[in-house]
């Protein structure tokens, strides 16, 4: 038995000791907890932890197999994302008790706050007293037992699982309904209560999903892409695409969904140019040896940075949106090219972890496939707030991609049109986010970077918050970012272009007196070393490529990712289609593409007269269009357009 006195130790020190004791199989007594946050976070051993008093936020959060007991009350996020084990609280629990539970038994002898069991997927959450509003909000599975009153809107937007109520049901949530509770279930529940020495002899009622909103009601007719329209002239206003859109919407009665990003022309990297004429530069064949491309990102708060061979990452894309094969090809290519891969929303696969040298693990609002074990084997964590393709919306995965396998890794029912929540259960504002980051750092012993993924909107404000909240870096995604599925209008019209995003981000840091302190990894329509060099010049520390890497690996840009029948086996979960994808050949292609990009970066750096890619600056750039000039603040020099117009014929 180890005794830890929080009057003498910081939580960070305490958690290290708790984990050490756990590893040694020793039980732990926590004295003077004094409602401190994160007690026991990150513990994955089969030991007892007794908190003698009250605990703050995220008590027993991000843990597995341990047994927690708290004598008094706990703050919000009790047993956050607990994979297994038990957490017993003798007093009351704050909001989102048992959030994202994945298999633990969580018992609160008093009352629970609002949104108890939000996005939980398995296990039991037992509340002996009353629940506040929206218990079981967006739950995917498992069981919530409320022996007192249910609270308002119980089961709001639940997808799976059961809510058992022993007291009064105050009001039913959207898409939740009373269903029968048979004797066998009743016996099982009573047995469970007995196991935790809870006596109950009233009547139990069962609430489950009403099944009305799991799928879109009308299927969208499938059409192949017609060419994009250029934004000029009167004739284009009622163009073919507009008419197609009206016809389809007048058949389905809702917004349309598709894959990829914006389809119309926007101010972009092609609208800025290098001041120096790079067309005739003689590139040293050994340019790769001469130019420093190495990039370290993520040690702002003292963790182990990501050491990249060049300022490029693979952008976050989920297993789910993409096939396992495509994800593995990306992982292999990232390793071969010495850069990082990112899990995206869908959880981490063992094979992916093995293939990638540097793997960033992304945490989304639905906590799909989120696990303490994967956090602890990741090279960095990333909290997703939004993405460029659909800022303001959660991830979207259409039913034909939510297969049994995908459902299993994500912890959700199969065959639903998955619309991940747009808001984290425990991040309603900047202050919550600080505590959430802290929880992640506690869970991983402050060893790895924690970043934030932001779709570009009010960048000027958001970056300031991200900087002050203490992230190690920001993954900033412009309007041109792509996705596997999103509403067409959101893809086209929500968010600001990538050029504007980096400009506002860099300025924002200057405005709060922290110029350059928060590294920015820019993404959203970056295709080549030319785009990457321009992004770096504008102030990015690195870039990420998503769509381009997929194209290198065989994607044909048909924009039909959401259909789930990807013709080349990338954006599909259908085994018949996935088998069309040749993992090793495409991994080589993606690697080859990354190496070509590397050469371009080096050649440009050399051409501009530098020995380090990070020395490229705004001074090397000019704007070719009034829009690009206004957005970036670069000098408007349209003459450079003429200079660079026929580069190709000159070269050949």
């Amino acid at each position: 038995m180890a005794t830890i006195d929080l009057a003498k130790l910081s939580v960070r020190e305490a958690n290290e000791l708790i984990r050490k004791a756990g590893a040694a199989g020793e039980d732990v007594d926590v004295l003077n907890p004094d409602a401190k946050h994160h007690i026991g976070v990150g513990l994955v051993h089969d030991v007892n932890v007794h908190v003698r008093g009250s605990a703050g936020y995220f008590c027993a959060g991000l843990t597995d197999t341990a047994r927690f007991e708290v004598d008094n009350n706990v703050g919000w996020g009790l047993a956050d994302n607990m994979l297994g084990g038990t957490a017993i609280v003798h007093g009351n629990a704050g909001a989102i008790a048992g959030v994202a539970n994945r298999g633990a038994d969580i018992i609160v002898h008093g009352n629970v706050g609002s949104r108890a069991g939000q996005v939980m997927k398995a296990g039991n959450l037992i509340c002996v007293g009353n629940a506040s509003f929206m218990a079981g909000y967006i739950m995917y599975g498992g069981r919530i037992i409320i022996l007192g009153e249910s609270g308002e809107q119980v089961g709001q937007d639940m997808t799976g699982g059961d809510i058992i109520v022993g007291g009064r049901i105050n009001s039913m949530g959207k898409d939740a309904a009373l269903t029968d509770l048979d004797q066998a279930d009743k016996d099982e529940i009573l047995e469970l209560l007995e196991r935790y020495k809870i006596s109950f002899n009233g009547t139990l009622q069962r609430i489950a999903n009403d099944g009305k909103q799991l799928r879109y009601s009308r299927n969208e007719p499938r059409v192949r892409n017609i060419p994009f329209f250029e934004a000029t002239g009167e004739a284009g206003y009622w163009n073919e695409k507009v008419l197609e859109d009206i016809h389809i919407k007048s058949q389905i009665g809702r917004y349309r969904i598709r894959g990829y990003g914006t389809t119309r022309p926007l101010p972009h990297f092609g609208d800025i140019a290098f001041r120096k004429d790079l067309s005739n530069i003689e590139t040293d064949p050994k340019v790769l040896e001469k130019i420093n491309l190495k990039t370290k990102i993520g040690d702002r708060m003292g963790g182990k940075p990501l050491e990249l061979s060049m300022p490029v990452m693979i952008a976050p894309m989920s297993y789910g949106a993409l096939s396992k094969s495509a994800k593995l090809a990306l992982a292999t290519a990232s390793r071969l090219s010495g850069i990082s891969e990112n899990t995206g929303e869908g959880g981490m696969m063992d094979e992916q972890r093995a293939e990638a040298d540097l793997l960033i693990y992304q945490c989304l609002s639905g906590r799909l496939g989120w696990s303490i074990h994967d956090m602890q084997r990741a090279d960095a964590l990333e909290i997703y707030i939004s993405q460029g393709a659909k800022p303001g919306l959660g991830g979207q995965l259409m039913a034909n991609k939510v297969t049994e396998q995908i459902a299993k890794i994500r912890g959700i029912p199969a065959g639903i049109d998955l619309r991940s929540p747009s808001r984290h259960p425990d991040v309603l504002g900047a202050d919550d986010l600080v505590i959430k980051i802290e929880e992640f750092r506690e869970a991983t012993g402050y060893r790895i970077p924690v970043s934030v993924k932001l779709g570009a909107g009010r960048v000027r404000d958001d970056i300031k918050i991200a900087c002050k909240d203490g992230f190690d870096y920001v993954s900033l995604d412009g309007l041109q970012g792509s996705t596997g599925a999103a509403g067409n209008e959101v893809l086209e019209f929500v968010g600001i272009p990538t050029l504007a995003a980096i400009t506002e981000a860099v300025d924002a840091l200057v405005e709060i007196g922290h110029p350059g302190e928060l590294p920015i990894v820019l993404m959203g329509g970056i295709k080549t070393g030319v785009d990457a060099a321009k992004a770096l010049a504008l102030g990015a520390s690195a870039v990420a490529v998503g769509t381009s890497a997929l194209i290198a690996g065989g994607c044909i840009s048909c924009l039909q990712c959401h259909v789930g029948k990807c013709v080349v086996g990338i954006a599909t979960q259908d085994p018949e289609h996935e088998k069309r994808y040749n993992i090793s050949a495409e991994a080589q292609n993606i690697h080859h593409y990354l190496e070509s990009l590397r050469w371009q970066l080096a050649a440009i750096t050399e051409g501009l007269g530098y020995d380090d890619v990070h020395k490229i600056s705004r001074d090397d750039l000019v704007a070719l269009t009034p829009e690009a000039a206004q957005i970036t603040g670069l000098p408007y020099v349209p003459e450079y357009r003429e200079r660079d117009r026929d580069l190709l014929s000159e070269a050949s």
């Binding site: 959207k174 007719p221 059409v223 892409n225 250029e230 934004a231 000029t232 009167e234 009206i246 016809h247 058949q251 917004y255 990003g261 914006t262 389809t263 926007l266 290098f274 790079l278 939004s386 800022p391 303001g392 919306l393 929540p421 747009s422 808001r423 504002g429 779709g455 960048v459 209008e489 019209f493 929500v494 600001i496 050029l499 504007a500 400009t503 295709k527 080549t528 030319v530 194209i551 044909i556 048909c558 990807c566 013709v567 080349v568 069309r580 050949a585 080859h592 593409y593 070509s596 990009l597 050469w599 371009q600 050649a603 009034p626 829009e627 206004q630 957005i631 660079d644 190709l648 070269a651």
Partner: protein, 841 residues
């Protein structure tokens, strides 16, 4: 062949007379087209086939290919292995689609004849694919062309090398007839052999230029098998006999040496001849290396022909074991100079393979005694310079197998085009013509709109094999029927076509493809890619770019505002007009006064279903609330109207407001130029509503002219704000609202709601003709009404998604601050700032 090299990034300039589209920024030749030696626009004919446009498909096929009917059956089809779908579930069966089209149209097509217009004449020796292709090009350029053919019919190896079970006689005639019909200037001299019936000097005397396309008619021999025995024959000779109609008796077992197309044809022909039971093909490398076209090989296997791999014959044997070959086993060593791994004999592996006839099919060579004597041969070929197609004699050109070794029909045609190009240059007195390259055209056919394109697997032609009477050589496969052809055509990726994304355009995509596939040490290609990506493009927002709602974007809530979940959190979209008319969403309909009665009926029903209202001069045949559009001083105010919006033609003038009943809404329809006078008037008279008309034109469908003038809403709001009366009158907007996003933007700019006109017209089955709309189609009235209701529901859902993305729970709370403009011109027209450097702090 690598179709992902520098030629994809930076194709060299095409001669100006070429029909070539590589400078089109919305076109990159597809891998299949690049792999085709004559640049056939396969994507276009495939797409035409799907559309059922057979004549157009036929044109695309035959544009550069005079032997399209033949190629539909026996082309080597290098396009298919290059097809990008080959990496997925199998390449598009491009050749079969060609066959389908040519079966439909190849026989009866009568081309327009081209007359001779030039005085110079051309002599061509050899009427095979190379010679005849050149003949056609030259004849089409107006020259008289004389073709000297040693056999008694045209066609060369196409006739004498390919058995009729693969290529029936009629098919060859289709192409030849089409060619001679097209080019009466081609004069054919059959049974006329160079060096026997006519000499090169005579030809040079008769013609201004001469082309030697004499083919490679001699079968190569193997020293080990070079015996004088009738039981050892050459593959080329064997096929020539067969194709002249002979059907010789075969021994029970026939051995074929070799793994190329001649070997395949020989073994399959032997199998069909009387007496033959077994055919064995002996090939010195393995099944991976065998050069025969995959389909031919599979056909032979299906016909029970045995393949003996990794075996090399070393001697003919006729002893105790009977007649046959002594062979050794081989294994593969290091790559040869041609890149293929060299077979090495395995010591002590000698064994006997019995067979009553040995057919040697190990390659072809050119034989021409007279050219040999003239010193114009280089070993087994006519000495020819590839860059000019000339022989040692500046007026004598050469092409095809005879000049460059045995190859395919389609390669021979490329040689023909190429030679004709340089011959024309000489005849036209051009000294240094641009180097020839294959031209790449596109016919810009839309992508096939087939919903199953990702799913359909490769369609196979029905395989008949030997047939009931093998000796009659019935055709081995049956052409596609219409459905199979269409299904196969639907599978095409359309690598040539512009994508749906202005960011990942066809050029961007192909550049990335090349980055992923070009050799990293190939600095020329790498530099070309870099240069291409450094190259500037046109400003996407040029001077003719007009202010548009498309340029406005929404700012999402992230960290600085509470995120509202657009999938779940409620958002109000309901609206009211002047507190009296309830609307399900801030949408009404307007402008169907001139529409047909049944359209007006359906519209009325749809509006009622959605819970909307109508603005127009005439009431709809429906109970939906009606805001009468009444021309001042002309239209009497209707008692039936729920409200009256006054309108004046020819500009605003103050007027006496007619008396309305107490519960009628009163409003004014205004255009931009009238705002400064109309707004104070409307406010003074306590009007409820301003209908801002942003339509760019007049007439029944004023929205269809083009972009709405967004500055009307900017100016109206500025005037109201200056008077501090923004809340005193409601604003409805009319003009070019196409989506819920447009609606949300209009609300963000300051309107309370929008009127839909043309959008609903399209939903009702209207089509735009010029600046007006016509209605047709056979939809029922209830379907039309449903379309109206569903479109309004869609728009309402989109608008509420936009509101929630910006962090709002009510559509009406969208503000200018939630918007940004991506162009200066729209920023100016709407007063919405741009993002980035100059965004307000």
């Amino acid at each position: 062949m690598n179709v992902y090299d520098i030629s994809r990034i930076a194709p060299c300039d095409a001669p100006s007379e070429f029909a070539d589209d590589t400078s089109d920024i919305h076109f990159v030749p597809a891998p299949c087209q690049v792999a085709c030696p004559i640049g056939t626009d396969a994507p276009s004919y495939i797409a035409y086939t799907w559309e059922g446009k057979m004549e157009e498909a036929f044109e695309a096929i035959t544009a550069t290919n005079p032997f399209s009917s033949i190629c539909g059956r026996v082309c080597d089809a290098p396009c298919e292995p290059a097809c990008r779908r080959a990496d997925s579930d199998g390449p598009i069966a491009i050749r079969n689609i060609k066959r389908f089209v040519m079966d439909k149209l190849g026989q009866d097509y009568k081309p327009t004849a081209i007359e001779v217009t030039r005085k110079e004449t051309v002599g061509i020796v050899g009427g095979g694919p190379a010679g005849l292709t050149a003949a056609k090009d030259l004849a089409e350029a107006g020259f008289e062309v004389h073709v000297y053919e040693m056999m008694d019919r045209l066609g060369g190896m196409m006739v004498w090398g390919i058995p009729t079970f693969r290529l029936p006689d009629g098919i060859i005639d289709e192409d030849l007839n089409r060619l001679t019909d097209r080019c009466p200037g081609i004069k054919v001299h059959l049974s006329c052999t160079l060096g026997k019936d006519i000499t090169l000097d005579e030809l040079k005397g008769k013609h201004d230029v001469v082309l030697l396309s004499i083919g490679a008619w001699g079968g190569k021999t193997m020293t080990a098998l070079d015996v004088d025995d009738a039981r050892v024959v050459n593959g080329v000779d064997f096929l020539r006999d067969i194709n002249s109609g002979k059907r010789p008796d075969m021994p029970e077992t026939v051995l074929v040496i070799g793994g190329g197309d001649v070997a395949m044809d020989a073994c399959r022909a032997a199998k069909r001849l009387p007496g033959c039971k077994d055919v064995k093909v002996v090939y010195r490398r393995g099944p991976e290396e065998i050069p025969a076209r995959r389909e031919e090989l599979e056909g032979a296997v299906k016909e029970d022909i045995e393949f003996i791999y990794n075996v090399q014959p070393v001697a003919v044997e006729d002893g105790a074991n009977g007649f046959g070959l002594t062979c050794v086993k081989t294994e593969l060593g290091d790559p040869d100079e041609d890149g293929r791994r060299r077979p090495i004999d395995v010591a002590g592996s000698e064994h006997f393979v019995a067979g009553g006839l040995v057919i040697v099919a190990v390659g072809q060579q050119t034989e021409c005694e007279s050219l040999e004597k003239a010193g114009m041969m280089d070993w087994d070929r006519v000495r020819t310079d590839w860059d000019s197609m000339r022989t040692d004699d500046p007026r004598v050109f050469a092409a095809g197998d005879g000049a460059f070794g045995g190859s395919t029909i389609v390669m021979a045609m490329q040689h023909g085009h190429r030679a004709a190009y340089y011959m024309k240059a000489l005849l036209n007195g051009i000294d240094n013509p641009l180097p020839y390259r294959t031209p790449y055209r596109t016919r810009r056919v839309p992508v096939a709109q087939d919903a199953e394109w990702e799913v359909i697997n490769r369609q196979h032609q029905e395989f008949k094999g030997l047939g009931d009477k093998p000796v009659e050589f019935p055709e081995i496969e049956v052409s596609y029927d219409g459905e199979a052809a269409r299904n196969e055509a639907a599978r095409c990726y359309r690598c040539d076509a512009e994508t749906g994304s202005a960011d990942y355009t066809v050029h961007s995509r192909e550049d990335i493809f090349v980055m992923a596939r070009a050799d990293l040490s190939d600095m020329k290609t790498q530099k070309a890619i870099l240069n291409k990506r450094l190259q500037s493009h046109d400003d996407p927002f040029q001077e003719n770019h007009l202010p548009t709602l498309d340029d406005l974007i929404f700012l999402p809530a992230n960290l600085s505002r509470l995120v509202i979940d657009p999938y779940r959190d409620p958002c109000n979209v309901k609206a009211k007009i002047a507190g009296r008319i309830d609307l399900t969403s801030p949408l009404v309909a307007a402008g169907f006064d001139a529409a047909p009665q049944e359209i007006r009926e359906a519209l009325g029903a749809g509006l009622a279903e959605h819970g909307s209202a109508y603005i127009g001069t005439k009431q709809l045949p429906s109970s939906v609330p009606w805001l009468q559009l009444a021309e001042v001083g002309k239209d009497p105010v209707s008692e039936k109207a729920d409200g009256v919006l006054f309108i004046q033609t020819g500009g605003f003038k103050e007027f006496d407001v007619p008396a309305l009943s107490d519960d009628q809404i009163i409003g004014l329809s205004v255009s931009k130029d009238d705002l400064s006078r109309a707004i104070p008037f409307a406010l003074d008279n306590e009007f409820d509503v301003l209908l801002l008309n942003a339509c760019p034109g007049n007439g029944d469908w004023p929205e269809l002219v083009g972009n709405p003038d967004l500055s009307v809403i900017r100016d109206a709001l500025r005037l109201l704000r200056a008077m501090n009366r923004e809340e005193d009158i409601e604003i409805l907007y009319f003009g070019g609202v196409r989506s819920g996003t447009d609606l949300a933007k209009i609300i963000g700019l300051g309107a309370n709601g929008a009127a839909l006109g043309a959008s609903l017209g399209f939903a009702l089955g209207g089509s735009k003709e010029g600046n007006t709309m016509t209605f047709s189609g056979d939809s029922s009235q209830s379907e039309r009404a449903e379309a109206v209701a569903l479109l309004m529901k869609s728009l309402s859902s989109e608008a509420s998604i936009m509101a929630r993305c910006t962090g709002k729970t009510d559509v009406h709370n969208i503000e200018p601050e939630d918007l940004r403009s991506i162009t200066r011109i729209t920023s100016e027209a709407t007063g919405i700032q741009m993002p980035g450097k100059n965004a307000l702090l």
